[in-house]
């Protein structure tokens, strides 16, 4: 039987309810990011750069757009006859079938898919993080340590540690404890949601977990603690670099603002690590006679006549005369009229912001204003800016 060194399973199923209106019509990994990308482009490009040629994308909420977007995978060089990228929604077989009950159950339900490639190892990644990571280095580490499961970890600020799965390790990086969202974390080494398992080992744990009716069928809550209990060899793999969970409106906005630093920690313009994305095919953007653009990212198809400061404009955004956009993220195909003021806001795709509208709040402690997809904002139903 043909076999693969490894395959990746990308957990793209999250409903993303914390992203509010951004995910009302699409799965979280399909949310636009960085002006021309979608969140899923980052893990998929990581796979390509790491030499992974087989990726299963596990999804169940609003799969259409994601399915369409991933297509046959040719954008990421993942169009291949044996392997490539496959979108895997839940399905019914002769023994029935059901909704994915948890991250582990989602992989359990696709054991047949993985078995087909007979891989030595399986990489589990998630579709809602922004980072650039060479998984092949993690694989080398995993092999060197003779690890049965390797978990990528990153140091997070202590005050945030209780939001994450926290790893406690010995001097040899062997994991001794795994606390899922602990109230009193013993370390600040957070799981990045990137797991590398020996497939035979994982396979048996998934089957066992499925039989456990009390289980949440979750990697962090069940599979990894069970493996630790059985004294399996689990190792932490330290990642240094930018990594951001963009699961909330605030963190999505922050991740965009991070891109606008003078020397950003996370660079989109690294020629050795291009992030691949479906091309929306627009001409270069046009900057008008009176336009002012400072400290911003702009994409193809934009027509800009106003002022854009410290903001990210996605492709095909129109910005009218005497309009000011500050500290904001404008998603694709948004039309913004004249005399508009937008500050500290995310405007989702296909919105129309009519002349004279005012959106946002300049107070740095206020919440980021989110305008959901396809809305029309007139100057009368404006979301007022305060503290100007």
């Amino acid at each position: 039987m043909a076999s693969k060194k490894w395959v990746a399973m990308l957990l793209a199923g999250g409903q993303g309810s914390r992203l509010g209106e951004l995910t009302s019509g699409l799965a979280k990994p399909a949310v636009p990011f960085g002006g021309k990308y979608r969140i899923i482009d980052f893990p998929l490009s990581n796979c390509t750069h790491s030499g992974i040629d087989t990726v299963g994308v596990l999804t169940q909420y609003q799969p259409h757009l994601l399915n369409d977007y991933v297509g046959n995978g040719k954008v990421w060089d993942l169009d291949s006859d044996f392997g490539g990228v496959s979108v895997l929604p839940p399905y019914k077989g002769k023994d029935g079938g059901e909704w994915y009950k948890g991250t582990a159950n989602a992989v359990y339900q696709n054991i047949q898919y993985i078995d087909r490639y007979n891989p030595e190892n399986v990489l589990i990644i998630s579709g809602d993080h922004i980072y650039k990571m060479d998984y092949s280095q993690m694989l080398a580490y995993h092999i060197e340590k003779r690890s049965q499961a390797t978990i990528a970890v990153i140091q997070v600020p202590w005050q945030e540690a209780s939001r994450f799965g926290i790893m406690n390790t010995n001097d040899n990086q062997k994991i001794t404890e795994f606390d899922e969202k602990p109230e009193y974390p013993k370390s600040n080494l957070a799981s990045m949601g990137v797991y590398l398992f020996n497939w035979k080992t994982l396979r048996s744990y998934l089957i066992e977990d499925e039989r456990d009716l009390t289980s949440d069928h979750d990697f962090g809550k069940n599979i990894i603690p069970n493996m630790l209990e059985d004294r399996k060899h689990l190792y932490a793999y330290h990642f240094e670099g930018y990594w951001k969970d963009v699961g909330t409106v605030e963190s999505l906005w922050e991740a965009h603002m991070d891109l606008l630093e003078v020397n950003p920690q996370f660079q989109l313009d690294d020629p050795d690590w291009k992030v691949f994305a479906r091309n929306a095919n627009h001409p270069p953007h046009y900057i008008g006679e009176e336009a002012v653009i400072k400290q911003s990212l702009t994409n193809e198809g934009c027509m800009i006549y106003g002022t854009v400061e410290h903001s990210v404009l996605s492709y095909n955004v129109q910005v009218g005369y005497n309009t000011t956009i500050k500290d904001s993220v404008i998603m694709p195909n948004v039309h913004i009229g004249d005399n508009v003021h937008i500050e500290r806001a995310i405007i989702d795709s296909n919105c129309v912001i009519e002349d004279g509208a005012v959106i946002g709040n300049s107070n740095p402690s206020a919440k980021i204003t989110l305008i959901g997809e396809g809305q029309t904002i007139t100057s009368t139903n404006q979301k007022k800016i305060t503290n100007i």
């Binding site: 989109l268 001409p283 270069p284 046009y286 400290q295 193809e300």
Partner: protein
């Protein structure tokens, strides 16, 4: 409606764009911040649902091959139809004429599943609706349809245009080869519709007579015995025949109306994808009336200019009335005015590059 073969004929190209055509043919000269000239013809075919395209290059076609690749960006990587690149078989024969090269590839025409051929050169920046021209061709039961456009441009230095004489019935009665076009003249766009069988016929007949020029030996020589119709193209199409006209026709795209008319939701212009990140504007950037492609990084001043993908304009640098092609770098304090900089040109710190009477062309990868 039958199957149509789109034929892009680059055999008659003259390399009149100076340094821009030293290492590449005209069809692959970069244009409009993101495109190559051939993208417009390729996209016209795709927009007309013509999915069988053959390109006949003559020389210097490495960059063209690289650009077109498997044709996937134009959706031409397919099992049936798709993209064919048919270069000269005998290099010394390529100068004999287009019909010679067509004859050398006769088996391609015989084998290919098409009944009609649309021939177009690879250097027209225009939106041309080939379905409309096909309908005109069929309605008139023409043997050959010749597409022409009225000339209202400036002086032409090189004799590269042919004038069509078209009578009231729309019949082409004469063709003046290589003339000096006057205002109002009907200039042949070297774009034709012809049935495949007649085309093959003419290729064979010409070969037998050792005649190898399609326009002269197949069209003009047969005006008296074939039904040759003129199709009057009235859309936008800048005549590009010199560095000045190349510069000016690029600059036309700084008009938002022109931009919108060329690139709309209904009409896509496709090109090779480079996966460039968004363009980055720094705190000190000052950009007016310009077209900027993705991957650019701008900290300086840019006015009335076109920046291709991945151009860097450093702090204090000034770029005016210029075209900077892919990966150009304008360093601190440099001044660039009225320039066409080919790919990967670098203007170093505080240096000046200014075109006086005509645009200054800086050749590929040159460092100033």
């Amino acid at each position: 409606m039958g199957n149509v073969l789109g034929l892009i004929n680059l055999i008659n190209e003259k390399q009149y764009l100076k340094e821009l055509t030293t290492h590449r043919n005209i069809a692959s000269v970069p244009f409009g911040g993101r495109y190559r000239l051939i993208d417009f013809t390729m996209s016209n075919f795709i927009n007309a649902d013509i999915s069988l395209v053959a390109v006949f290059p003559k020389e210097r076609y490495l960059s063209l091959m690289d650009h077109l690749g498997s044709g996937k960006e134009w959706n031409l990587d397919r099992r049936s139809g798709g993209l064919f690149i048919l270069p000269p078989i005998q290099p010394h024969e390529s100068s004999m004429g287009d019909m010679k090269q067509f004859h050398n590839h006769l088996s391609f025409f015989e084998r290919v599943n098409a009944d009609t051929v649309i021939i177009s050169p690879g250097n027209h920046v225009c939106k041309m609706d080939y379905n409309e021209i096909l309908a005109f061709h069929r309605e008139n039961q023409a043997d050959i349809t010749v597409v022409y456009k009225d000339f209202y441009d400036g002086a032409v230095e090189k004799l590269i245009y042919h004038q069509c004489i078209v009578n009231e019935d729309g019949n082409v009665t004469d063709i003046n080869l290589f003339n000096v076009p006057q205002a109002g003249d009907h200039i042949s766009l070297e774009t034709y519709v012809i049935s495949k069988s007649l085309f093959i016929d003419l290729i064979k007949k010409c070969a037998a007579n050792e005649e190898y020029n399609f326009l002269k030996d197949a069209v003009k020589a047969n005006l008296h015995c074939l039904n040759v119709k003129g199709y009057h193209f009235t859309g936008d199409l800048p005549f590009i025949h010199s560095i000045e006209s190349f510069h000016a026709s690029n600059m036309k795209f700084l008009n938002p109306q022109t931009l919108k008319s060329f690139f709309s939701e209904e009409w896509s212009v496709f090109t090779k994808i480079k996966h460039e990140p968004p363009a980055k504007y720094g705190q000190s950037s000052n950009v007016k009336n310009s077209l900027v492609a993705n991957g650019c990084d701008i900290e300086g001043t840019v006015e009335n200019s076109i920046l291709f993908r991945g151009v860097k304009v450093k702090k204090g640098a000034i770029v005016k009335n210029s075209i900077i092609m892919q990966k150009g770098e304008i360093e601190e304090g440099a001044i660039v005015e009225n320039v066409i900089a080919d790919k990967e040109v670098r203007i170093t710190k505080a240096k000046k590059a200014v075109g006086e009477n005509e645009p200054l062309v800086i050749k590929k990868a040159e460092v100033i």
